[in-house]
């Protein structure tokens, strides 16, 4: 038994972990899809009326019936659900009612813009957080940094967005107020997302950073004559990264799902805006498509997190991977 297991375990273990991971991912996606379906079908409101452009138009009853039939909305819910899941299983996200195009295309068109914004916001947030943590030395400075971080973390993103838009976009006209053109148009939205997030990150990491600073190995490093900033950057910070990483994993998804307001204020294209339209028109395929997209982002973020965990703290190799 022992001998045998000694040979097979490592592979078995890894294979098992990957398998479990995939299974879990699939389960999550399936559940998300089903919930989205259920939710949108249980809520009152007939998508067809929305498809046909709203109540102030004059679609004939035949038109309504035709539309209902085209999207299978005239079938019993159970059948609709069955078809829906079957379609998903075959990798087909379906056709958006309101956008008159395949959901996959919508995601392909709008996903990159949102992901780009999300990525730049995340990077900026990390930059801010790390700077504030590493270079706020001394009791007074640290206290100040703490307060600032708390303040930043407390800023509502959209409020910040509006104020930035007003100050830098309208009054000073330093940055373009709107659009998806070029990096400069990315600056304001990025800042309005990154500043609160950065404050949050810093707040989360600072505690473990301060703990790390009192560890013996820091004393050892000092006793080596290593310069203070290097000690903070190379030794202490690394021990503070883990909470920041797991927070980011959460933030990634949150940015995609709830970035709609920012996208609207800066008239940016993106998933959030698309989600808003879809939600307003009860566009089931599109809503669930986007929910699946977000779920996927979360799952990938989770995997990335675990990978980073091991990179940052190799001792975890055993438990994770």
């Amino acid at each position: 038994m022992t001998a045998l297991s000694r040979r097979t375990w490592p592979f078995g273990l890894i294979a098992r972990k990957i398998a479990r991971r995939l299974a879990n991912a699939v389960l999550v996606l399936l559940a998300a899809a089903s919930l989205a379906f259920a939710a949108l079908h249980l809520t009152p409101g007939d998508p067809v009326t929305a498809i046909l452009g709203g109540g102030t138009q004059t679609p004939s009853p035949e038109t309504i019936a035709a539309a209902r039939h085209e999207y299978g909305l005239d079938r019993p819910i159970s059948v609709q659900f069955g078809l829906y899941i079957a379609r998903l299983a075959s990798g087909n996200l379906g056709q958006s009612f309101s956008q008159h195009m395949p959901v996959a295309d919508v995601l392909r068109a709008q996903g990159p813009a949102t992901l780009a914004l999300m990525a730049s916001a995340l990077l900026t947030a990390w930059l801010l957080a790390v700077l504030s943590i590493v270079f706020a030395v001394g009791r007074r400075t640290t206290a100040f940094a703490r307060t600032t971080e708390t303040f930043f973390a407390g800023l509502p993103q959209f409020w910040l967005a509006i104020l930035l838009l007003w100050a830098l976009g309208f009054e000073l006209q330093i940055f373009p107020p709107a659009g998806n053109r070029g990096l400069r148009s990315l600056v304001l939205p990025t800042l309005s997302l990154a500043i609160p997030l950065g404050g949050f990150l810093a707040r989360v990491m600072r505690d473990s950073f301060d703990l790390a600073l009192h560890e013996p190995f820091i004393l050892t490093a000092r006793a080596r004559g290593t310069p203070e900033w290097l000690i903070r950057l190379r030794h202490a910070l690394r021990h503070a990264l883990l909470p920041g990483i797991s927070l980011s994993a959460w933030a990634v998804g949150a940015l995609v799902g709830n970035g709609v307001v920012i996208e609207m204020i800066f008239s940016r294209r993106g998933i959030g805006r698309e989600l808003f339209l879809a939600v307003m028109t009860h566009d089931m395929p599109l809503v669930s498509g986007i929910i699946l997209f977000i779920a996927l982002v979360y799952i990938l973020a989770g995997i990335a997190t675990d990978a980073l965990y091991v990179v940052v703290d190799p001792r975890l190799k055993a438990t994770r991977s």
């Binding site: 013996p216 190995f217 050892t220 006793a223 080596r224 004559g225």
Partner: protein, 551 residues
């Protein structure tokens, strides 16, 4: 002592004259080290000895400029070689550290950055002083590790502390301190909380360094260990030097009572336990062929414990000794029914207490629980942070199904020689010794027939250790409790146990009555343990060891 400080002042590595360290507090200046003077010459070892709070560490750190930003340091004279250490600028300190003064602290597991390879750590000591280039540094690191007696340095350099054995770890730590071969090495508790065998390795390493002419300032609470190394000893108490002088003289004829107390506290220097006639009565608790197998870091199944069998007789103490990771704690968790073994069985008071069978559940154990209590290595963690001492004890009494009154709690505190006054306090505000006493009080609250003590004193100062051990001893005599005592410290075992079981890599390699196992060890590992223990206590020529051998 003047003699010492006068001779060869010029070639002194370190000259300290009238050093005092003080910290500001809201109540005003608080002096933690007062008027300390000594001279350290190349190839010499000066030791600062004292218990926690004696100010020895602060003194050491003030010599390397790390006593803290707001530390007030004053001295008539403070020179490193020819260099004056008083009021140096931070940058000057930095250039000194590592190059002129190396420092080693405690266990490398915490003293080296656990996230970085020891290679990176040691290389940093070089790069911090712009020594050589990347390649030459790597080479230098390998040389240092080889020099430190590390097998296969190239490989080790790429590993992290937790991947190394205790001994290798400490070697790496010392190599890191000596990277730029400074003339002065400060070793702050270099062996605390290490296994004896590792301690001896560190000891050997330090001896070599001394032979190589490096001046070593040794900080320790353990006179026994210091005795093996130091030429000159300063005994500190509450920041004052109560006694200092030549090591041999000071150890053989301690003049100050505190010094004597310290010496007496060393368990190895105290009389071994009076032999108890082995009872024929059936064992109170007996474990048979306990085995536990778990997947290790690499995913391979490893035996944490394999076919361990023990018998614990009423009123006797069974010592379980072994090094960290030898499976002591796993065994104790099985015996206390906190963990289910893969194989084997535990019979307690004639009933099935633990085993792989599903029939044995916590529920079935509960009626017997009150007869078995535990004392943990870290008492603080075992107390609910929200609770006062009174809550904790009351809870234990209640668990034993006895009525809780103010008296019962007071009585318990009295049993463990604590004043009833602390009943209202939370453990976090108590000293280590007091905490452990509370833990003991909780253990005896249900007046159990067995108490399992897992490393009950390893975290304490020697003198406190002695008191706690005495207390356990007394309680055993008063209440006839049987102890299962788990420890890595031969001294403690020898002091407390009637029977001894020696564990190595999850197996019991030797077992029997204490006097036999400890006097005529049959298994090489047991012998190694004993030698390590003796090597670490007072010099071989001193009479104490002879006595221990005579047992």
């Amino acid at each position: 002592m003047n003699a010492i400080s006068d001779i060869g002042r010029q070639d002194a590595v370190l000259h300290v004259d009238g050093l005092s360290v003080a910290f500001p507090t809201p109540q005003g200046l608080h002096t933690v080290a007062r008027d300390i003077s000594f001279t350290l010459r190349p190839g010499q070892v000066v030791a600062l000895v004292g218990e926690s709070g004696s100010g020895k560490s602060v003194t050491a750190r003030s010599l390397i400029g790390l006593a803290g930003a707001n530390a007030g340091i004053s001295a008539r004279r403070l020179t490193l070689g020819t260099r004056n250490l008083l009021n140096l600028a931070p940058s000057d300190w930095r250039s000194l550290r590592g190059r002129e003064i190396g420092m080693v602290l405690q266990d490398a597991l915490v003293a080296l950055d656990p996230l970085r390879t020891i290679g990176q750590e040691i290389a940093e000591a070089l790069s911090a002083h712009r020594w050589g280039n990347r390649r030459s540094r790597i080479q230098r690191v390998h040389d240092l590790l080889k020099e430190a007696g590390m097998p296969d340095p190239a490989l080790r350099a790429r590993q992290r502390p937790h991947e190394l054995s205790g001994g290798q770890r400490q070697r790496a730590l010392i190599a890191n301190a000596l990277a730029l071969s400074p003339p002065l090495l400060i070793a702050d508790e270099p062996t605390t909380a290490l296994d004896p065998t590792v301690q001896t390795q560190v000891l050997d390493r330090l001896l070599t360094l001394r032979r190589n002419g490096i001046g070593i300032l040794l900080i320790s609470h353990d006179l026994g260990f210091v005795a093996r190394l130091a030429d000159h000893i300063l005994v500190l108490q509450h920041g004052n030097v109560v006694e200092q002088g030549n090591a041999a003289r000071l150890l053989n004829a301690p003049s100050h009572p505190y010094t004597r107390a310290l010496l007496e506290a060393d368990p190895l220097r105290r009389p071994a336990r009076a032999i108890q006639p082995a009872r024929t009565a059936s064992p109170l608790l007996s474990a048979r062929n306990l085995s536990v197998r778990r997947p290790g870091p690499d995913g391979m199944l490893r035996d944490l414990v394999s076919s361990v069998s023990l018998d614990l007789h009423p009123g006797r103490t069974l010592g379980l000794i072994g090094e960290s990771g030898s499976g002591k704690t796993t065994t104790s968790r099985i015996i206390t029914g906190l963990m289910r073994p893969d194989q084997g069985s535990v019979i307690f008071k004639g009933q099935a207490w633990n085993g792989p069978e599903r029939s044995i559940t916590e529920r079935s154990r509960r009626p017997l629980r009150r007869h078995m209590a535990m004392i943990y290595q870290d008492p603080l963690g075992s107390f609910d942070p929200r609770w006062t001492v009174h809550d904790i004890l009351a809870d234990a009494v209640e668990a034993a199904g006895r009525p809780v009154t103010g008296e019962t709690v007071t009585a318990l505190l009295d049993h463990v020689r604590l004043s009833a006054a602390i009943a209202g306090r939370r453990p976090r505000t108590l000293s280590g010794g007091q905490r452990q006493r509370v833990a003991i009080a909780r253990a005896i609250a249900s007046d159990p027939s067995v108490i399992v003590c897992d490393e009950p004193v390893s975290a304490l100062d020697l003198s406190v250790q002695a008191q706690i051990l005495d207390l356990l001893d007394a309680l055993q005599r008063e209440l006839g409790i049987a102890y299962l005592l788990i420890s890595h410290d031969m001294g403690v075992i020898r002091r407390m146990c009637d029977d001894v079981a020696v564990m190595q890599a999850g197996r019991i390699v030797e077992q029997g009555p204490a006097e036999i196992v400890l006097r005529t060890p049959s298994h090489p590992f047991t012998r190694a343990l004993l030698e390590a223990a003796h090597a670490l206590s007072a010099p071989a020529d001193s009479h104490h060891i002879v006595e221990t051998r005579a047992i």
